[in-house]
């Protein structure tokens, strides 16, 4: 079953049409990466899922229940981490989690236990300072802890990794990955390598709708560029090779850069042997021969172009 479904969402801010017709669904136990340019409406979409802002039209369902604008009961299924989590600076992490627990209606004894577990999980145990002295990374971790407090079925994180250094990013991604074992995770980001690292589903938000959606590996298959990179032993062999390659009917482009020839071609699978035969018959020594993997970046650029 789909844990989240959005149907024909439209959102205008005054005369600005941010979302025109957004449709998507997220199935249980997936890690869904929502990508899109600045201002494409990622945060807006997330806030609508939480009932914090009202769609101009359209409806959203969480666990089959319709999201109501204002106080929505569907939020009991959700843990949310905003892009810049703001806390009460005069509290300690423990006090803040206690407040969240009491609001969610977690039992008192349970709150204590969960708080200890979560602070350990995000590496904030033993930090007894007030939150106002926290770094952004620490706030982000505390944000994750509060989002996980009610053991949500759906975890929504808005640009969790944007403010973090590579080490912090890896830690947070590992946390999300682990959370993905129990919950469904939706997270937005600009950092495409983060998406490639942990997501299994992606959606690309562009022009007010989800222009591309599906399993990451399938999407990468579909956008597979037929490209090769061949590196010759010496620089003078590269142009020779390029000239020979260009003569082959299925090769559309062969560009030389130093010792490397960048090749674009059609139907690699059927024609690969011809290339190998050419290399052998012309006796061109090869240092490296690589079929280029499509990157999410190529896909993204392609979609938003």
């Amino acid at each position: 079953m789909d844990i989240l479904r959005a149907e024909h969402i439209r959102k205008n801010f005054g005369s600005q049409h941010v979302l025109t017709d957004l449709n998507f669904s997220v199935s249980k136990h997936s890690i869904f990466g929502l990508i899109g340019k600045n201002g494409s409406g990622k945060t807006t979409t997330m806030k609508m899922i939480l009932g914090l802002i009202k769609p101009t039209s359209g409806s959203i369902y969480v666990c089959g229940e319709k999201v109501a604008y204002g106080d929505t009961p569907t939020n009991r299924h959700i843990g949310y981490l905003p892009d810049v989590p703001e806390f009460y600076g005069y509290m300690t992490a423990r006090e803040y989690l206690k407040l969240c627990g009491e609001i969610t209606g977690v039992r008192r004894s349970e709150i204590h236990k969960r708080t200890d577990e979560l602070l350990c999980l995000v590496g904030l145990n033993g930090v007894n300072r007030k939150i106002h002295s926290y770094s952004r990374g620490m706030k982000q971790r505390l944000g994750i802890a509060q989002a996980l407090l009610n053991e949500p079925e759906l975890l929504i994180c808005d640009e969790v990794t944007s403010a973090l250094d590579p080490v912090g990013r890896k830690e947070i991604l590992d946390l999300l990955s682990a959370a993905g074992k129990r919950a469904t995770v939706i997270f937005s980001t600009h950092i495409l390598s983060d998406v490639e690292r942990i997501c299994d589903q992606i959606g690309v938000l562009n022009n007010g709708q989800l222009e591309l959606q599906g399993p990451l590996n399938e999407i990468k298959q579909d956008y597979r560029q037929e490209a090769l990179q061949i590196e010759t032993l010496t620089p003078d062999q590269a142009p020779v090779l390029a000239a020979h390659l260009k003569a082959l009917p299925f090769i559309s482009k062969a560009e030389v850069s130093g010792r490397t020839v960048n090749v674009q071609l059609n139907h690699y699978e059927e024609n690969s042997l011809d290339i190998i035969r050419l290399l052998a018959s012309e006796s061109i020594p090869i240092l490296k021969y690589e079929r280029l993997e499509p990157t999410l970046e190529n896909v993204f650029m392609d979609v938003i172009r």
Binding site: G70, L81, P82, Y88, Y90, E102, I103
Partner: protein, 254 residues
Amino acid sequence: MSGFTAFFKKEIVEYLRSYKALILLCVFIIFGMMSPLLAKMMPDILSHQAINGITLNIPKPTFYDSFGQFFKNLSQMGMAVLLLIFGGVLSQDLSKGTLIMLLAKGLSRHAVILAKFAAALILWTASYAFAVMIQWGYTLYLFDKLPVPHLFFSLFCLWLFGIFILTILLMSSTLVGGAYSGLFLTTAALGALIVCQFIPGTDRFSPLALASDNAGLMTGAANLHHAVTAVWITVILIVSALAVSLVVFKKKSI
């Protein structure tokens, strides 16, 4: 209304840790101590200013003057302090974005408004009560007791006016965004009330009467009947402002 108790506790802790509670309490205690002293010393202060040998003949201050001074201080400076302390009552939480995570956790929006109102009400009432007790004690100590008609009613009027300010602040901050716009809107509303007072016949119905007729009620200069009308009007305004806050906040984009 889930989360009322938790959020109410948070409000109280916030007032304590941001020293707002302490400041409010101290200021009002100072008002309670200062007013009788000021009333007592007023003749001395004035006679020192007598110039060119003209001696001012000032009547000996009484119990009335002490409370007159108290009402004057509280209805002007006291209300200004109230505005400053509670100026960011909801605006601050909204503009900083601290409410987002709590609302996403299922905190009810009605609970937010009611908890904020309850906490502010308690703080105001406590500070006011302290001020009144100290004022009472000092006045009894410094002056001879006189029968004061409607003193309690007068005190009640000022208390109610404080609540009126609190609810207008709360309502304003649900209506407009920004960290201090609630405060500005409230100040504007009070300004409008002051302007309205110049329309003949309206002054006695205005909530402002609750903060300006207090001394008059004691001496009999102000009409009790009018004051009671103003009380009812203010109560209706308070309830309406709360209702508007609840409804508007429920439907606010956050």
